[in-house]
């Protein structure tokens, strides 16, 4: 079984091959994301102190993570003082049950939600639906993929894999519109009309959290569409769901991150809305759920704890030449791209062990990251761990053992390169050699550099 598994292609490679098969669509996907990456470059390069900002953000996050429990307690105390109910959730299950309990206490069966990758991580939608509670994603992209019964394919642009024609078709199918249109303005207006009703009928709103400030006990939500605010203001109950790592110490630190976040994510100078949710309005209830779900364990991991600095801007996806050409779904994990590839293996090594290999280690992700996570080095480190976990005597291990031996021993090296010369080119360029499917195999030279040098020195 082990042999078969290793012999077969990894999941990512399989999905990617399928994606790439549609060449023009791959180009379209690649170019859409490259456009965003370019916009990001322009926005970032317009700020002289960009590199200093990244360094500062990295240091603030590093500091906060090393004193995380202190800051979390400070946040809890201050939020509670503000009249917010703070909940602690150990894992996704506990998180979802807390949400359910809050809703059931008020007999609420309709909820609007604004983009939160954390609730995707917890599969909250599916959970609430199974309890007969309607939950509607109200960000345009998020709502589109919800209509399609798909997860987001990108953490900031969840429907980036869909063309406007396909969205028009979907809206017609789901009776959101009565005609099929590919006019973005028309489609946006139709969703506004549809979603407005949902806002009016919902008594509860759920939002994600970009930053939580320990000093003031407030949470900050950065959005472009205003839907998170509308949800919160319309509702009797608001629930803000966040991972433990979203804490920053003081309000004065926030500016460092808001300057980096939108520029890195979409190339905007700042998101349209940066909303501070501090205390419930009169007659309203406000809850914050702090989710662990493996984070407190990761913080003790010398190799990978800095992944917790991530502010979920998605820049590493936009820049990744593999993500752009294989799409978000090829990663089979809630968070795709380079950051997903270093988070996923610690969640389920068996299922996601191939992701750290879905990279050329080009390092673009590390250079684009606004909080300076050494993404490609972490991919390298994961590879070492995964190969060890796969154990000895797998085909991969044996191949590498043999390679190491041949490269170590000069006689073996000379023998095998000598023999290689006699392999006919029709075999080298046949199906047996995967290299040659899209590329010609290079020819071994009659005189290697070292034999040339040996002869030269003899003369």
């Amino acid at each position: 079984m082990k042999y078969l598994k290793i012999l077969s292609m990894g999941n990512h490679a399989k999905h990617a091959e399928k994606f790439v098969n549609n060449d023009s669509r791959t180009d379209w996907h690649d170019e859409s994301l490259w456009y965003v990456r370019n916009k990001r470059d322009k926005a970032a390069h317009a700020i002289d102190e960009w590199e200093e900002l990244r360094e500062l953000a990295s240091q603030i996050k590093t500091h906060t993570l090393t004193k995380l429990s202190d800051y979390l307690r400070e946040f809890e105390a201050n939020a509670t003082k503000n009249g917010v109910v703070v909940h602690w959730a150990k894992d996704a299950k506990e998180h979802n049950e807390i949400v359910l309990k809050i809703l059931q206490a008020k007999n609420i069966d309709r909820v609007v939600k604004s983009k939160s990758m954390l609730t995707e991580e917890c599969h909250l939608n599916q959970f609430l639906e199974s309890k007969n509670i309607e939950i509607v994603d109200t960000d345009l992209g998020e709502w589109i993929v919800q209509l399609k019964n798909q997860p987001p394919s990108h953490i900031v642009m969840p429907a980036i894999h869909l063309k406007k024609e396909e969205i028009g078709q979907l809206f017609k199918e789901k009776n959101i519109t009565d005609i099929e249109s590919d006019d973005p303005e028309f489609l946006t207006l139709a969703s506004r009309v549809f979603l407005r009703k949902k806002f009016q009928l919902s008594k509860a709103a759920i939002t994600g959290v970009n930053f939580a400030i320990a000093e003031t006990g407030e949470v900050v939500v950065c959005t472009n569409e205003g839907n998170a605010d509308m949800g919160v203001h319309f509702s009797e109950v608001s629930i803000h769901c966040m991972g433990l790592e979203k804490i920053i110490p003081k309000r004065k630190h926030l500016g460092v991150f808001t300057r980096l976040l939108a520029r890195s994510a979409t190339g905007q100078n700042i998101t349209v809305y940066t909303s501070h949710h501090r205390r419930p309005e009169k007659g309203q209830e406000k809850h914050v759920i702090l989710l662990d779900n493996g984070r407190s364990e990761r913080i003790h991991d010398d190799d990978f704890w800095t992944a917790l600095k991530c502010i979920r801007c998605g820049a590493c996806m936009n820049t990744c030449p593999i993500y752009r050409r294989s799409g978000g779904y090829s990663y089979d994990y809630t968070i795709p791209g380079p950051i997903g590839s270093i988070l996923a293996p610690s969640v389920d090594l068996e299922a996601h062990g191939d992701l750290p290999f879905a990279s050329t280690l080009c390092g673009s992700c590390t250079d684009v990251c606004p909080v300076k996570i050494d993404l490609h080095e972490q991919l390298f480190r994961w590879r070492q761990i995964i190969s060890k976990k796969q154990g000895a005597n797998t085909l991969r291990e044996l191949t590498n053992k043999a390679t190491s031996l041949v490269l170590f021993n000069r006689n073996l090296y000379n023998l095998s390169t000598g023999l290689m010369k006699y392999v006919p080119s029709f075999i080298l360029n046949s199906k047996l050699n995967k290299w040659s499917k899209g590329r010609k195999t290079p020819k071994i030279s009659n005189t290697s550099f070292k034999s040339w040098l040996k002869n030269k020195n003899k003369l």
Partner: protein, 247 residues
């Protein structure tokens, strides 16, 4: 200087010309050049595949054989980066620390120590440049567009010695070519797609040559060019000094 030249296995076997020119050029510039015949590999392909431990004997051998030189020079940014950054799981002896310090890619070496001694050479044609990612981002051979710093390119600097060469910039000069070692096989479809896209970019610039400092990228890109029967020639940047060293 007493230089230990390292020619990685794929250059030794597939592109011996690049090895020869490296050797002769350094000699011609007045250096004592030695090539320890027992070392074929820095261990990178095995470590990048996730078997750092199996690469250890190669690391140790490399250190043992190259410990006595003033500089360790190689025509491969990728191997240079590996030695400097990833020789971490073996004993950090003084010898190893020295090797990590004195290891340098040949392009870097030429620009750092031989800037005024390099000749102007006859080489004409339109050229597109590809800096391997490990050189670009690992050794800072230039500034990727991600980083907000003054742009520079070591490849372009070297090309300035070929007065009649015209460099046409790629639309995406810092996009990875898709080689990535074992990635080229494990993720064959994406690897080839990335290579095809790179060649498409090169073709748009209507050039005669694609020049890089990394033959492993060029092994992949050259393979694509041949498969597509394109006319673009690939070469290592130091090959512009070919006539100089043979003259």
């Amino acid at each position: 200087m007493k230089i230990g030249l390292f020619i990685p296995c794929y250059i030794d076997q597939f592109y011996p010309e690049v090895g020869k020119i490296s050797y002769l050029l350094l000699q011609k510039l007045g250096h004592e050049v030695y090539v320890p015949m027992d070392v074929q590999c820095c261990g990178q392909p095995i470590a990048n595949a996730g078997y750092e431990d199996l690469a250890k004997p190669l690391y140790n051998k490399f250190v043992e054989q190259y410990k006595d030189f003033d500089m360790v020079v190689m025509p491969s940014g990728s191997c240079t980066y590996h030695i400097k950054s990833h020789y971490t799981n073996v004993e950090q002896s003084e010898q190893l620390k020295k090797i990590r310090r004195v290891t340098i890619d040949i392009c870097d070496f030429l620009l750092k120590y031989e800037k005024d001694n390099l000749p102007k050479v006859e080489f004409s044609g339109k050229v597109a440049l590809h800096t391997g990612c490990h050189s670009l981002r690992g050794l800072r051979f230039g500034e990727g567009s991600e980083i907000h710093k003054k742009p520079h390119s070591k490849l372009k600097e070297l090309l300035s010695y070929a007065e009649n060469a015209i460099v046409n910039d790629l639309d995406r000069p810092d996009e990875c070519c898709g080689f990535g070692g074992t990635f080229a096989i494990a993720e064959e479809a994406i690897s080839v797609k990335m290579g095809n896209d790179k060649i498409r970019d090169v073709k748009r610039q209507e050039v005669d040559y694609l020049i890089s400092n990394d033959m492993s990228c060029l092994m992949h890109l050259g393979g694509i060019i041949k498969k597509k029967k394109e006319k673009i020639k690939v070469m290592h940047v130091i090959e512009i000094f070919k006539d100089f060293v043979n003259g």
